[in-house]
Amino acid sequence: MQITRGMRIVEAKAYVAERLGVSPFDLSDPIAMEDVRRERQLGRITTFEISYPTQSSAMEAKFRIAELLDLPINCVQRFRQHAGLA
């Protein structure tokens, strides 16, 4: 929201929280946000011991983030074009 929209942080946190259905304070809670990321398939930290092969990651997650935040993401739009999905 800051990079492409030039949105100040308080406004950006409020926007993202509203779109995710959480409070701005929840964004600071890694435990709460881990659940949000899992439920909404927004990408998670993977390790050898704990991996999530059936969940969205990287470009897959960015498709969902763009839709959820109503935010055009440049590489997602280009992926759509290149893959013939547009």
Binding site: Q2, I3, T4, R8, D29, T46, C75
Partner: protein, 344 residues
């Protein structure tokens, strides 16, 4: 006898000061900045808060939960452990970086132009495997366009000879070259999928360097309305190497953070990064009070996110390669607590 607390000098060396001594350092730092930039000093409450952060034996200091800000970077890996993309993944997956920045080790737009297809391909590949925003960063570095490195006459040689008109003409010629390189680089990286571009150390070669950055931003914004554009400054004050250059009627030489931010926003950037240089011979307390005093007027009118430069040698972070966590934590917290920054 007053308790002494471990604290850092601007060069990173450890020293010990009492609360009274730290208070005096804070007051001297804010007054030094206020006198130099003709801005108000920090208030008594703000100095009290800084004293609470600094006069502590704690290893680490941090903002309150809920007050966290996001981080952008000037570079996040240069084949440190593998490929650049692997480095970016380490920043995302292991350091928890909010964003990353792809950059070449020769971090200047003039050099990047010669390897642009390679950089664009690296951006496309990186975007396929990363989730966080990926910026592309480089320096305007106007000096590279002067002889013997570039085509324009060398204004640093002309100025000592009092050939002022020729020195000014040389800088104006270099501005044109620099703008073309920055715009073409941004075009190529945007087409490859970049989330944005970071003009790092803008103004390093003075007012011509800053003007080139602003003119490039104008064209990039017109061509790519959704592109992120970040400007990180080289220093607190735009040097008048030319002295007469203006942008939208504003003289660039002598601009402090507030004036810099206003022009950066008008040109079309989405994030502005003020850089306040560290005095290595003064304490961290003196440096943080000085830095906050210089940036505070900018925050009072900011309409775009402000990511203050908090890194080696700027923003009260010691000028040393291996940064002590106690110094980084205190400076980071102080800038967010006092200035209500949008990021670092």
């Amino acid at each position: 006898m007053e308790t002494q607390y471990p604290t850092r000098m601007g060069d990173g060396s450890l020293t010990r000061l009492t609360r009274s001594e730290m208070r005096a350092e804070l007051e001297e730092g804010t007054l030094a900045a206020a006198g130099r930039a003709k801005v108000p000093p920090l208030s008594a409450d703000e100095l009290d808060h800084l004293l609470e952060i600094w006069a502590s034996p704690a290893k680490f200091s941090a903002v309150d939960i809920g007050d966290e800000v996001v981080l952008t970077y000037d570079g996040s890996g240069s084949k440190t452990v593998g490929t650049r993309t692997q480095d970016l993944l380490i920043y995302e997956q292991m350091f928890g970086a909010d964003s990353v920045e792809l950059g070449h080790v020769d971090y200047s737009f003039k050099a990047i132009r010669t390897i642009l297809p390679f950089e664009a391909q690296n951006m496309k590949d990186a975007q396929a495997v990363l989730t966080v925003p990926v910026m592309y960063g480089a320096m305007p570095n106007l000096g590279l366009y002067s002889k013997p490195d570039g085509p324009a006459p060398n204004w640093s040689e002309l100025l000592p000879l009092a050939r002022v008109d020729e020195a000014r003409a040389a800088q104006e010629e270099a501005v044109g070259y620099a703008v073309e390189d920055m715009v073409k680089t941004a075009d190529a990286l945007w087409e490859a999928g970049a989330d944005g571009i970071d003009f790092d150390t803008a103004g390093a070669a003075g007012d011509g360097d800053f003007l080139a950055t602003l003119l490039a931003i104008e064209r990039i914004r017109a061509a790519h309305p959704d592109m992120g554009i970040q400007v990180g400054m080289a220093g607190e004050f735009v040097l008048g190497m030319h002295g007469q250059l203006e942008y939208e009627g504003v003289r660039l030489a002598g601009l402090w953070p507030r004036g810099q931010m206003e022009l950066v926003r008008r040109a079309g950037a989405t994030i502005y990064g003020p850089a306040i240089t560290v005095n290595t011979r003064r304490t961290g307390a003196w440096n943080i009070a000085r830095a906050l005093t210089l940036v505070k007027p900018c925050m009072e009118v900011a309409e775009i996110p402000v990511h203050m430069n908090i890194g080696m040698g700027v923003g009260a972070i010691p000028t040393t390669s291996y940064l002590p966590l106690d110094a980084v934590g205190r400076a980071s917290r102080a800038t967010v607590d006092i200035l209500r920054l949008d990021g670092l």
